[in-house]
Structure formats: C-alpha cells, structure tokens
C-alpha cells in the first residue's frame, strides 16, 4: 500500500471522530511517512512497518476521549423570584399599560379617522367642475391628500406591528421577572 492509499483508508476508518481529530491524526502519520522516506524506505515498506491500518484506527478511536455534547451540560439552575422582583413587575405594568392604551387611543384613533375621511376626497373629486379656474390646483391637492392617506396607512400598519412585538417582549420580560426574579 502506498502513502495515499494508507492515509485514505485511515481517514475512512476514523470516520466516527470529529474532522479536526482526523486531520491531526492523518497529518501525524503523513509526517511519519515523510521522515521514514528520508531514511531511504519505500512507501510500501513504511506502511508495512506502521502495521495494520484497521488496528491503528481502532487504537486511535479507543484513545480519543468522547466529548459530551454541549447541550447536556450547564443546564441553567432554577432561580427563585424575590418579592422585590414581583413588586417591580406590578409597578411597571401599572405605568406601561395605561401609557400604551393612551397611545393607542390618540395615535391610532387619529390616524384611522383621517384614513376614513379619505372617502370625502373621492366624493369631492366627483364635483371638481365647481372649482372653475382652480380645477387643476384642486385636483393636485386632492391627489396629494390621497398619498398622505397612504402614507398614514403605512405608518399605522408598522405602528401596530411594532406595538404587537413590543407587547410580546414586555409580557415575556414580566413573566421572567415574576417566576425567576432579576
């Protein structure tokens, strides 16, 4: 067997080990081949001297310590919540919940009102003839209003999404505070 055949077979036999280990081992045996070649040995002779490749792989596998996967170790110890954490949790809820509802009341309320009134623009568009010489200006102003409503709609959409995401985070944070403390 030549060097390439021997190393290929060795790395195949070491298949159950992590890649880095296989690389280190084959590099080591590769170095052995190179040093033995400098002493005038042939690759066939060297692989004969190294011994059976199955045996070598087996002893390597037996001597490599098996590492436990990280997941099984270091499980977070259960923490008990303190009374102060719970008081804090209730306090921030007392502040945050009214503020959120006030924001929903004012902001979303106003935005939806404006969007709803966009129907009026369309209505006004139908009797554009009444504007006389200012027809073009009125038309432009009305088209501008429609874009304003679209813009407000987008703001409302992202505002609601942000609110839902923040709400979810707030609930999770409070639950953690309640059960496991700071």
């Amino acid at each position: 067997m030549n060097k390439k055949e021997y190393l290929d077979l060795l790395s195949k036999e070491l298949g159950s080990l992590p890649y880095n280990d296989v690389k280190e081992i084959t590099d080591e045996i590769d170095a052995h081949f190179e040093m033995a070649k400098q002493e005038g040995k042939t690759e066939e002779q060297i692989s004969d001297d190294l011994g059976d490749v199955h045996e070598l792989a087996k002893s390597y596998i037996n001597c490599t310590p098996y590492k436990l996967p990280q997941v099984l170790k270091d499980k977070e110890p259960k923490k008990k919540s303190s009374i102060w954490a719970r008081v804090f949790s209730v306090a921030i809820c007392c502040v945050a919940v009214p503020i959120t509802f006030a924001w929903i009341w004012f902001d979303i309320g106003i935005a939806t009102k404006i969007i709803a009134s966009s129907g009026l623009f369309v209505l006004r568009l139908s009797n554009i003839g009444h504007y006389g010489d200012y027809r073009f200006a009125a038309l432009m102003s009305q088209i501008g209003s429609i874009f304003y409503v679209i813009f407000l709609g987008c703001l409302l959409y992202f505002g609601i999404r942000l609110l839902l995401a923040a709400g979810r985070k707030f609930i999770r944070f409070n639950r953690k505070l309640w059960t496991r403390g700071f």
Partner: protein, 106 residues
C-alpha cells in the same frame, strides 16, 4: 514476544523515553519498535492519549530537513505517573519472578 505483555507497559516505556529528553513521534516510534518488536504505528495513539490526559505536552520545532516536527515533553503530572508506574512495575515484576521461579514469597 507476547503482544499482551507489550501492551501493558508501552505507556510506561514512552513516558520513560520522554523523561530522558523531549522527542518527536517518529523518533519514539522508531527507537521503541527497534527495542520491542512492534508496529511503528502503535506509538502514535499512545502519544495522543498521553497528551489528552495531560501526561505530555507538545510543541513545534523547526527541523533541518522537512516541515517542523511536533515534539513531546513530559509534564509534572506525567513524571508523577511514571514514578507510580515504575514502582508498580518493580513490585509486580518481583512477584511474577517469584511465582515463575517457584519461590514462595509469602
């Protein structure tokens, strides 16, 4: 020589060789396989196990010909283990010699 005899003492032999001087894999494999008849490859897994157990540590050193070589150095833990091995071995050797020589040690 019986392969089972060799297997038990190889760790001790490798540690003892490294106590004399730091050495690289090929050198240990070559000189050990000349003294005890065994496959050259046998030494490498042993060195790997000794390194994993902290008995030896490794460092790279440039060589005059070819790529840098991985040298093995006996650690303090390795020295302590070797002393233990040698003590055990001498005791064991005495007992076995006694048994096969027919002497009654009791």
């Amino acid at each position: 020589m019986n392969i089972q005899f060799k297997k038990g003492v190889l760790d001790m032999c490798v540690l003892a060789m490294l106590r004399e001087k730091d050495s690289y894999g090929y050198d240990i494999a070559d000189s050990l396989s000349k003294k005890i008849k065994l496959a050259d490859g046998t030494v490498y897994p042993i060195l790997r196990k000794l390194a994993a157990d902290g008995m030896v540590c490794t460092y790279l050193m440039e060589s005059q010909n070819g790529p840098p070589r991985k040298y093995y150095h006996l650690t303090e833990a390795g020295k302590a283990t070797l002393d233990e091995y040698i003590k055990d071995w001498e005791e064991f050797n005495k007992v076995v010699t006694g048994i096969i020589g027919g002497q009654d040690l009791e």
